[in-house]
Subunit: 214 residues, 2 copies
Amino acid sequence: MEKEISQAVIRRMPRYYRYLGELLDDGVERISSNDLSTRMRVTASQIRQDLNNFGGFGQQGYGYNVKYLYDEIGKIMGMNQQHNIIVVGAGKLGQALANYIKFEKRGFVIIGLFDVNPALKGISVRGIKVRMLDELEDFLKENQVDIATLTLPKEKADEVANMLVDLGINAIWNFAHLDLQLPDHVVVENVHLSDSLMQLSYNIVKTEKSKDKK
Amino acid sequence: MEKEISQAVIRRMPRYYRYLGELLDDGVERISSNDLSTRMRVTASQIRQDLNNFGGFGQQGYGYNVKYLYDEIGKIMGMNQQHNIIVVGAGKLGQALANYIKFEKRGFVIIGLFDVNPALKGISVRGIKVRMLDELEDFLKENQVDIATLTLPKEKADEVANMLVDLGINAIWNFAHLDLQLPDHVVVENVHLSDSLMQLSYNIVKTEKSKDKK
DNA sequence: TAGATTGTTAATCGATTAACAATC
DNA sequence: TAGATTGTTAATCGATTAACAATC
């Protein structure tokens, strides 16, 4: 039986991937866990432990080959396959995501934009026209869709999420400010911007308080 | 000396705040840690431990008064004060954030939009006109700005972040896909959308693998 | 070979959960 | 008062760090 890898580790992998990508761009061929730890401001121990969850990618006395490690982490994270995405909710945020070309470099391709608001029907973003939600069922029959992005007000989000799941969607990137109640087989990744702002606010207030004390 | 509260706890506070807000809207007057734990799918123990980091907000035999606890968490997180925000980078994402009216309900008010691209100079979002970055210094003299949002390509982000800090900004909400290297007194909250997508991708791949095995 | 650095085990630290006395 | 539920201490669990033998 395979051991489950903790989400704490998974959360750090994109960061390793990013640093390795930069090293690669800079033409760096190899790197030791120690050098990487200095750059990333984490312990070398943690880097080695994290990586060894997935296998031994290094070599004693040498370190890690940057290109090889970059590719291996890419494979682990699914960067070697294309993920087709639809965006449900074609408001400003939905449009911003649809417009963000860099996702495509990582294999995340936005192939559809949906909304309920007929006023949006005419427009298109990067050549992707906004469709009405009642066209979704047919669209899903004709296209492989791996991820549905939810950029809707929370009042609509739960209902639409359930509809998506009924139509066969198994992964949701949720920007709506609520916890979706969905079957266990559905993978949900939340981006709660308000929560993020609140955390920032707390840390600002905390910092101000500690200054007052001095 | 006050004990530092761990970021693990801080990360959970906005979620408590959200659930309590919903209970409040539903007219619920009081709630026990046990009932809340069932709704939120966390342990009652964790709820009580988390809250008691900040003080005893409940009453034995009664539970927690929803309105009171909501307000107290609000104060802890700084929701009782206004935070003036500028958005630096007036592309689609910056515009989407500037347009998001719900932030204002929590006291986060966007008062300025900046960019380097002269092509954006004419436009305005929700009555906020896009200014050029060279107007920033004067703007900061005339307005209290608590948070700067960075929605720029990573090539520009580091330079602009340092400029902001030099001009007196102490808190940054960073959407650029890099780690900012800034002085210790600056509070940074990162929203790395690509990292979030990668995590989702990993969990999709993992789920598919475990299905194959059955 | 000698030096460097990994992979991995062991030790420590911190976070979560359980238990229960205090008390409303 | 009896019942309910908190606040808090103690026990457990998991994650991080340290240490070092293995090995390139």
